[in-house]
């Protein structure tokens, strides 16, 4: 049996773990082994960092034609979130109406099922976001 292909990054998907460059202090998500600003100077200095999961909506869309794993969920909201620590991240916004979302709104991350490989296949989990009350 082969390993499920989307389990490789599982820790980062559950815990929003990224990296911080020990040279310039800039934070990244997902994990990188080289800082795009400091290049060679950053090698060996990239440290793991856990993000709070809080941020703001940077941009968003309501998806009406989904890819195969998401076709049954349409319409659903996808967004680019700017985390409080700096990096931007793509994720679904849930537990609200599609018309409720605006650029700049504060959000928090939640742990949810993302999808599955068919009816009896592997279930994938990860982060989604919801609007802060």
């Amino acid at each position: 049996m082969s390993a499920p292909r989307f389990w490789r990054e599982i820790n980062q998907r559950y815990n929003l773990v990224g990296t911080e460059c020990g040279n310039c202090g800039k934070k990244y998500f997902p994990i990188r082994s080289v800082c795009p600003e400091c290049h060679r100077e950053s090698i060996g200095k990239m440290k793991k960092v856990k993000f709070s999961g809080n941020g703001k909506v940077f941009s968003y869309t309501v998806i009406h034609v989904g890819s195969s794993m998401f076709q049954m969920q349409t319409p659903y909201i996808m967004a680019i979130i700017e985390l409080d620590e700096g990096p931007r991240i793509t994720g679904q916004i849930i537990d609200c109406e599609t018309k409720d979302v605006k650029i700049g709104m504060p959000v928090e991350s939640v742990f949810r099922k993302i999808g599955e490989d068919g009816k009896s296949g592997t279930i994938y989990y990860g982060y989604k976001f919801r609007l802060m009350k």
Binding site: V62, M78, I80
Partner: protein, 388 residues
């Protein structure tokens, strides 16, 4: 470095071509280009084939050797190389062909581009296209390819007050041009009301803000400029070629309303060609979505950042206006068989520079540009051509 000319072009009809195969399409375009150029298979030294995802669309990899085989070139044992950079595969294949001729390694090169997208369902095609973004950190989480461009559009509307009507003006203009192109998938004009009332794909982008899923192929024959007259009376010179890259995922970009890869490649081509944006008579830009054309004309320097929507609405980009943008109808109306697109853009520009574009001819066209994007802007490849 030697000067390089394009001496032959070929392009199939674009559309839902259920009676044609991947190999059938590219061989049709390739033979047309060879016939147009006057070269024979004995003259051809190498083949570069742009193709994004024949593996996902028709379960066939190793596409370049296949093309060479069914073009009758297997017995000549020429190098046949597939080039893949998502939707920029065709433009990058052209650049690889250009580099190989300019360097002196090859003399006569055939550049092809092909995609056969309609053999799979809409959701599988959506999956395949999503592989041009970051599978693990974008599409896995539910964002589609139109969804990425929708977020670019939403932010552009937020920062620059771009409107849905301005986006729609791009689609209306490109359909008006495409109606004059006998190879286009949609040879039909549309109204702004139709665009605005179309079903949503990824808000704020509706069906008419999106290029279609298409089958099609295109091909070019390149050779050193000094040998071009031996084959043809109307060679067109490639006066600049540049390619640039950026982060694969949209969320990691410095600014999601600017494609820094386009800006970098544009700076490079203008320098190589010693031209400014105002020297360009026509440009085929990568309008996979209406927002993409607006961002492209800004990043290529035809208008200031943030003014692309206004310029489109005011008609500055129409056929024979300030700058003729997408006289072919663009990806929106001509169709977007992804691996073929970059090559087909060059076919259009060369047809225009030869004065053979019929009803959609740009008047006094001397200098033309192609702009081809991969993914949500992680690859940009730009060429400038000049009539000689």
């Amino acid at each position: 470095m030697r000067d390089v000319a394009v001496i032959g072009v070929g392009v199939t009809k674009f559309g839902e071509l259920w009676d044609k195969s991947l190999r059938g399409l590219i061989v049709e375009a390739g033979l047309e280009a060879m016939h147009d150029s006057g070269v024979t298979s004995k003259d051809v030294d190498a083949l570069y084939g742009g193709n994004m995802s024949s593996g996902l669309f028709v379960s066939q990899e190793h596409t370049a050797a296949l093309i060479g085989d069914f073009a009758g070139l297997a017995s000549r044992h020429i190098p046949a190389t597939r080039v893949e950079d998502a939707c920029a595969s065709g433009g990058v294949a052209l650049r690889q062909g250009y580099i190989s001729v300019a360097s002196g390694i090859h003399d006569v090169v055939i550049v092809g581009g092909v995609e056969k997208m309609t053999d799979v369902s809409e959701s599988l095609a959506t999956d395949a296209l999503a592989s041009a973004g970051d599978r693990e950190w974008e599409s896995f989480l539910g964002v589609t390819f139109p969804g990425l461009y929708a977020m670019m559009a939403r932010r552009h509307m937020h920062e620059y007050k771009t409107t849905k009507e301005q986006l729609g003006a791009v689609a209306v203009k490109n359909h008006r041009n495409g109606a004059l192109n006998p190879k286009a998938q949609y040879q039909k004009e549309i109204t702004l009301e139709q665009v605005l009332n179309a079903p949503m794909v990824a808000e704020p982008l509706g069906l008419y803000d999106c290029s279609p899923i298409s089958d099609g192929a295109a091909a070019l024959i390149l050779c050193p400029l000094e040998r071009a007259r031996k084959f043809t009376d109307n060679p067109v010179k490639i006066i600049a070629s540049a390619q640039a890259s950026d982060t694969l995922s949209l969320h990691s970009r410095r600014d999601i309303c600017t494609m820094d890869a386009t800006v970098a490649a544009a700076r490079n081509v203008y320098r190589q060609a010693n031209k400014k944006p105002k020297d360009i008579d026509l440009v085929e830009v990568h309008d996979c979505f209406t927002i993409t054309e607006i961002v492209a004309i800004e990043d290529l320097g035809f208008v200031k950042k943030g003014e692309g929507g206004k310029a489109s609405e005011e008609g500055l980009t129409a056929l024979n206006a300030e700058i003729s943008v997408n006289p072919s109808g663009g990806l929106k109306s001509k169709g977007h068989p992804v691996g073929a697109t970059g090559v087909a853009q060059a076919v259009e520009v060369i047809t225009q520079l030869r004065g053979e574009a019929g009803k959609r001819q740009v008047k006094n066209a001397r200098v033309g540009m192609t702009h081809n994007i991969g993914g949500s802007g992680a690859t940009a490849v730009i060429h400038i051509f000049e009539a000689i």
